[in-house]
Amino acid sequence: MTAAALTALLPHQCSVHLVESEAIGIIGVGEATLPHMRAFNQRLGISEAEFVTATRATFKLGIEFRDWGRIGDSYIHPFGTYGSGQGAVDFHHYWARLALAGHAVPPIEAFSFACALARQNRFALPSSDRQALSSTFDYAYQLDAQSFAPLLRRRAEAAGAQRTEGMVSAVERDGETGWITRLRLSDGRTIEGDLFIDCSGFRALLIGEALEEPFEDWSRWLPCDRAVALPCRTATAVTPYTSAIAEGAGWRWRIPLQHRTGNGYVYSSAHLSDDAAAARLGAAVEGEPLAEPRVLRFRAGRRRRSWVGNCLAMGLASGFLEPLESTSIYLVQAAITALIELFPERDIAATDRDEFNRLVDLEYDRVRDFLILHYHATTRTDSTFWHDVRSTPVPDSLAEKIELFRRRGRIVRYSEGIFRDASWIAVFTGQGIVPQGIDRRAERPALDDVARSMADLRDAIADQAARAPGHVAFLDRQRLAVAA
């Protein structure tokens, strides 16, 4: 992604040399993404049709969370808003008002167009008419990351990136500044550069092994440190959403692609053995397995600094947060955007580096808090794992967010970074944190009027969603369009 973005967005201003080894596999086990992915593709001029065809992608309206707050619960965190998007006071205050007044109110997802589409296994592109209910959502993709990399590689090479196949055996550094001067490959070749970008994944060859930049460990909040992955044939619906199903020692993903379904179990090795995890996953997958189970090891956290000297880490080399909210590719993309905007000169100004690190930290910290919320807001007591995660004190920044929502339905606003109001509302209400008070202004309209207009809205959303094509039908239509 980095090489393709640099060559496309900064043409002729830097030469990009990509060192890649076929011997090191791509971690991608089927990836769920966030809507920002579309902006990345657009900026690089990758059309949706080309992308969806090449990566065997499906559309994604959100994530279904099953068994999180308690066993038997299910809610969808949608890429969209609740209500019809009108009025000075946010919709969820009216929703909470009815519930507090003792009305039988359906879960808040009944008032989300994205959730309605998802629950009906339907998909359509959002309307550009801002007044329409069908404009109140966004979408992302579920894709095969293994086939995304070659597409990006072709683009990068066509735009002038040079690719070298080889293994880095030594990192040479300037004795005075500590900056990286050249990479030595195992066959003796050397590669020089002004800026070195470490995309080597968990190994963090440059920023970790060579520069020894410390890693901030967040496992006290996010104890999951393994995942076992097992793709299978799709036996049930190709859902326009990813599923995250809570399990005894972590959670399980289900990501339906066009040609198969990705499955995995993310767990805490302190609470579950690899064999037991693989066995549980094997029992849970819906169709015939298409590979042997593969175990991945990781640790939640991030580098203290992602850009040190003339070395900058991207993706897993810079940090790791479990894929519960599909943030891996997003975090890479955010770092690329920051790098492009702060693209340095040869002497690399400290201001650029500091600003990059500030932006990257902000993104990681926000995702971290949002993930912790999923483990904290639960009443599950069925295993030591859940007992442990539930009782771990949360960071102050998160404790305050929870308290503000619980008391008055307030969401802490910010205008940069991911996970805005609707995301927080989805997880809060989906996992049993409901407002005990609401915005005073939402108490003004007559209760009966509020109840009636909410019922109308719910019906309108369900009706309009029912008119959209099925997800598979939509994919087929697009495939035909590409073929034609």
Partner: protein
């Protein structure tokens, strides 16, 4: 589960009249009509700076809309006029004057923000002055006015405008409105505040010995902060960054036709303003007491003057404490440059209404409110300070401010901009990016290098788009009426 309403706040005491107190009382009662709102209108020991300032930012229209006030009442009957910006003269001695207006500069071009393209054109010697590429600023210079068109592609679709108010007339309108919507006004003087043991407000004691108790108290008594000062003495002193500490104002008759462009002119010991409403004009001088004498300053104004009024820049780190919220100068004192005072009042009121607490008054809301208020105040401070830090005047008063150690947030903004023209993002900005750019570029701060992003777009293409935009603005300005004609034309009433 609790039923909403059972812990609800019923009574709010707004302590202090003036624009701050009346605005707060009117907005609370209008937007939360079930509240009892008592305004202790004579509680302030002296009028605040805000009650003398003519400038209001574009956000004032949102405040009016929230109250259901149309331009007929809020603008035309109060003698206010539309303002499109401020002509900044003398801030950088080797530079021409510039307009700080509201709204976008230039068209959107591929590769990066417009101003980065402009910087490249400027280095190539081919760029028109930056403020001529903003429609609002260009209209302002020409003394013309029209409301923006409804298209984001059109240069005339992307500017904002505030108001030049006549403070006494505007206040009279707010009073009438507040009383009309049911604010109960008590004109007895305030003797003092009795705090509770935990340091909240227990009651207000009036001059005649009566007391007023409420669920929530708003301290709108100006910099005296009569409520807050009785609870704690926390104050963040910003005088090392914001140099001016005196102000003299003069209300003068309107000599010429009203202009949508007010002026802020730097001089040896500070700066002075002139602004015109529909019926009257205002002048003021803002200075540092050590850099001149009061008489000297006064002589620069014509007509009857008020002042000097002394003030000390700074902010209360916790404007909301327990059951008491400081609004306006009781919370933050920043000199008038940029006309942020009324905006900060409106913003505080809106924030309070959005976060309106119940009687439990948990500290969680106060903490969030205080964090936002503090971030907002700091960035206003940074923006005002930017004018001094980026000045190039030679008189003894000036150089110290550009050599001073800046707050880290402003240092960060300046360092990034000077290096490559990037402006870092901060939450709770009052002045948007185009306003920062207007001042930075207007005062001659230019990035050291051209951002690599814009090099992916041919300079000749950028220059062509810039020239076309420039020409479209010039033509559009000529087609719009002078402000006086706009104000006098009943067909031009702003749509509600």
């Amino acid at each position: 589960m609790t039923v909403p309403g059972e812990r609800a706040i019923e009574h709010v005491a707004v302590v202090g009249g003036g624009l701050t107190g009346w605005s707060a009382a009117a907005a609370l009662k209008r937007r939360l009509p079930e509240l009892t709102v008592t305004l202790l209108a004579e509680a302030a020991t002296a009028p605040g700076l805000i009650d003398h300032l003519p400038g209001a930012l574009p956000s004032i229209h949102d405040f009016h809309a929230d109250l259901g006030l149309g331009d007929g009442d809020a603008v035309h009957r109060t003698g206010a006029a539309y303002r499109l910006g401020t002509l900044m003269t003398g801030w950088a001695t080797d530079r021409p004057d510039y307009v700080h207006g509201y709204g976008a500069h230039g068209p959107a071009l591929p590769g990066g923000s417009f101003h980065l393209h402009w910087v490249r054109a400027q280095y190539d010697g081919a760029a028109p002055p930056f403020d001529q590429l903003a429609a609002g600023a260009a209209l302002a210079r020409a003394g013309r006015f029209a409301t923006p068109v409804a298209s984001s592609q059109d240069p005339f679709g992307r500017y904002g405008y505030g108001l030049t108010i006549d403070p006494p007339d505007y206040l009279a309108m707010l009073r009438a409105f507040a009383e009309h919507v049911g604010v109960s006004v008590d004109h007895r003087g305030v003797a003092g505040v009795a705090p509770t043991e935990r340091g909240w407000v227990d009651r207000i004691v009036l001059d005649d010995g009566d007391t007023v108790r409420a669920d929530l108290y708003l301290d709108c008594t100006g910099s005296a902060a009569r409520l807050c000062a009785a609870l704690d003495d926390e104050w963040e002193d910003w005088r090392r960054w914001l140099p001016c500490d005196r102000i003299i104002v003069a209300s003068v008759p309107l000599r010429d036709a009203p202009s949508p462009l007010d002026r802020a002119s730097a001089w040896a010991a500070g700066w002075r303003w002139s602004a015109t409403g529909a019926r009257s004009a205002s002048e003021g001088i803002v200075y540092h007491a050590d850099a001149t004498t009061d008489d000297n300053a006064r002589q620069m104004l014509s007509g009857a003057t008020t002042g000097p009024m002394a003030f000390a820049a700074g902010t209360r780190p916790q404007p909301w404490r327990g059951n008491c919220v400081a609004i306006g100068e009781a919370a933050t004192v920043i000199e008038p440059l940029g006309w942020s005072a009324l905006h900060l009042v409106h913003s505080a009121i809106d924030r309070l209404i959005t976060m309106f607490p119940d009687r439990e008054l948990s500290g969680v809301e106060a903490a969030d409110y205080n964090r936002q208020a503090h971030a907002e105040a700091e960035r206003v401070r940074d923006f005002v300070l930017l004018h001094y830090a980026a000045s190039s005047r030679p008189e003894p008063f000036w150089p110290q401010w550009r050599e001073a150690t800046l707050p880290a947030s402003l240092e960060h903004s300046l360092a990034l901009f000077r290096d490559r023209g990037r402006l870092p993002f901060y939450e709770h900005e009052t002045f948007d990016r185009d306003e920062w750019l207007a001042v930075l570029i207007g005062q001659g701060v230019l990035p050291r290098r051209i951002d690599p992003l814009v090099r992916s777009y041919p300079a000749a293409d950028a220059a062509r788009h810039i020239a076309a935009w420039h020409a479209a603005i010039a033509a559009g300005v000529a087609a719009r009426p002078p402000l006086a004609a706009f104000l006098g034309d009943p067909r031009q009433a702003r749509p509600q």
